[in-house]
C-alpha cells in the first residue's frame, strides 16, 4: 500500500526510545486508556450524581441477575489470562500456541456477550427499557458502552489471528508489540467490568 511509505519514516515502532523507555504504540495505548478512564468515569459519575440526587432508588439486585453477572466476571477475567498466555507464547516463538490462546480469548468474549444478550432479552421481555427508569437507563448505557468496547476488542483480536497474523512472518518483534498493545486494551475492558459489576449489581 502506498501509505506504507510514510510509515517507514517513523522510528521506535519496534525498539524502544532510550530516554522514554517506550515504543510508540505502547505510549499511545496508555494515553488512549487514560481517555477511556475519563469516558467511563463520566458515565460512572453520572450514576453517582443521579443516585445521590434522587429521592428514591430501586433495589438494583431485584432487576439484575447476580449469578450471571458473577459468571461474566469469571469469564472476562479468564479471558485476560488467555491473552497473557497468547502473548507469552509469542515470546516462546510458539505461534500455534498463540493462536490457540487468542482464539480462546475471543471465544470467552463472545460467551460474555451471549450472557449479556440473554440478560438484555430478559429485560425487554419484562418491558424493562431505558425509558422505564433512570437506573435502567444507566444500566443499559454503562453495559452497552462496555459491550461495544468488548466488540471492538473482539474485532481487533480476530484481526490478529486472521489477516493481521501475516505480520508475524514479516517482523516478529513488531507483531509481539501489537499483541501487547491489544492485551493492554483487553485488560482495561476487564477492569472496567469489575467496577461495572459491583456498581450495578451489588450496590
Amino acid at each position: 500500500m502506498h501509505t506504507n511509505d510514510t510509515e517507514e519514516l517513523v522510528p521506535y515502532k519496534v525498539e524502544s526510545r532510550q530516554d522514554t523507555g517506550l515504543y510508540n504504540a505502547k505510549l499511545g495505548i496508555w494515553l488512549f486508556l487514560a481517555s477511556e478512564i475519563m469516558l467511563f468515569g463520566s458515565l460512572f459519575s453520572a450514576y453517582i450524581l443521579l443516585r445521590v440526587g434522587s429521592f428514591s432508588w430501586p433495589v438494583q439486585s431485584e432487576f439484575l441477575n447476580i449469578p450471571i453477572g458473577a459468571i461474566n466476571s469469571v469469564i472476562l477475567l479468564t479471558s485476560s489470562i488467555f491473552i497473557i498466555k497468547a502473548w507469552t507464547a509469542l515470546h516462546e516463538n510458539d505461534f500455534k500456541k498463540y493462536k490457540k490462546f487468542m482464539t480462546m480469548t475471543i471465544i470467552a468474549a463472545i460467551v460474555f456477550l451471549c450472557f449479556k444478550g440473554y440478560e438484555y432479552a430478559e429485560h425487554f421481555m419484562h418491558h424493562e427499557y431505558p425509558s422505564k427508569s433512570v437506573f435502567l437507563a444507566l444500566y443499559f448505557l454503562l453495559t452497552g458502552v462496555h459491550a461495544l468496547h468488548i466488540l471492538g476488542g473482539i474485532i481487533v483480536n480476530a484481526y490478529y489471528i486472521g489477516p493481521g497474523a501475516k505480520l508475524w512472518s514479516e517482523n516478529k518483534k513488531w507483531f509481539i508489540n501489537r499483541i501487547e498493545v491489544a492485551g493492554l486494551y483487553w485488560h482495561f475492558v476487564d477492569l472496567v467490568w469489575l467496577f461495572l459489576f459491583s456498581t450495578l449489581y451489588l450496590m
Binding site: A70, S80, K85
Partner: protein
C-alpha cells in the same frame, strides 16, 4: 520493550487471578450482608484494590515508566474531582422549600 522485562511467571499469574476471583466473591458476599453505606464503601475499596492488582500485574504497570504511572494517577484524580464536587453539591443542596434553612 522495558529493560527488566519478565515475560511470564505462571505461578504469579495464577495467584493474581485467584486473588481477584476471591475478592470478587467477597464483594458478592458483602452485598448479601446488607451493610448499607459501609457496604458500599467496603465494596469500592475492595474493587479498587482488585483493579490495582489487574493493572499492576496483568498490565505490567509495575514495570512501566514513571511517566505513565503519573499520567494515570492524574487521570484518576481528575475523575474523582469531576465526580466529587457536583455530587457533594447535589447531595447537600436543598431540593424542596422545606429543606431551606430559615436564614
Amino acid at each position: 520493550m522495558e529493560k527488566n522485562e519478565h515475560i511470564s511467571d505462571p505461578k504469579k499469574e495464577a495467584l493474581i487471578y485467584l486473588s481477584i476471583l476471591a475478592l470478587t466473591a467477597t464483594v458478592i458476599g458483602i452485598h448479601y450482608l446488607n451493610l448499607g453505606i459501609w457496604g458500599i464503601a467496603l465494596t469500592v475499596a475492595i474493587v479498587s484494590f482488585e483493579a490495582c492488582l489487574l493493572a499492576y500485574h496483568f498490565m505490567h504497570l509495575i514495570h512501566t515508566r514513571l511517566i505513565i504511572n503519573i499520567i494515570l494517577v492524574l487521570t484518576v484524580l481528575f475523575f474523582l474531582g469531576l465526580v466529587f464536587w457536583p455530587a457533594w453539591d447535589i447531595g447537600y443542596s436543598p431540593r424542596t422549600p422545606s429543606e431551606y434553612s430559615v436564614n
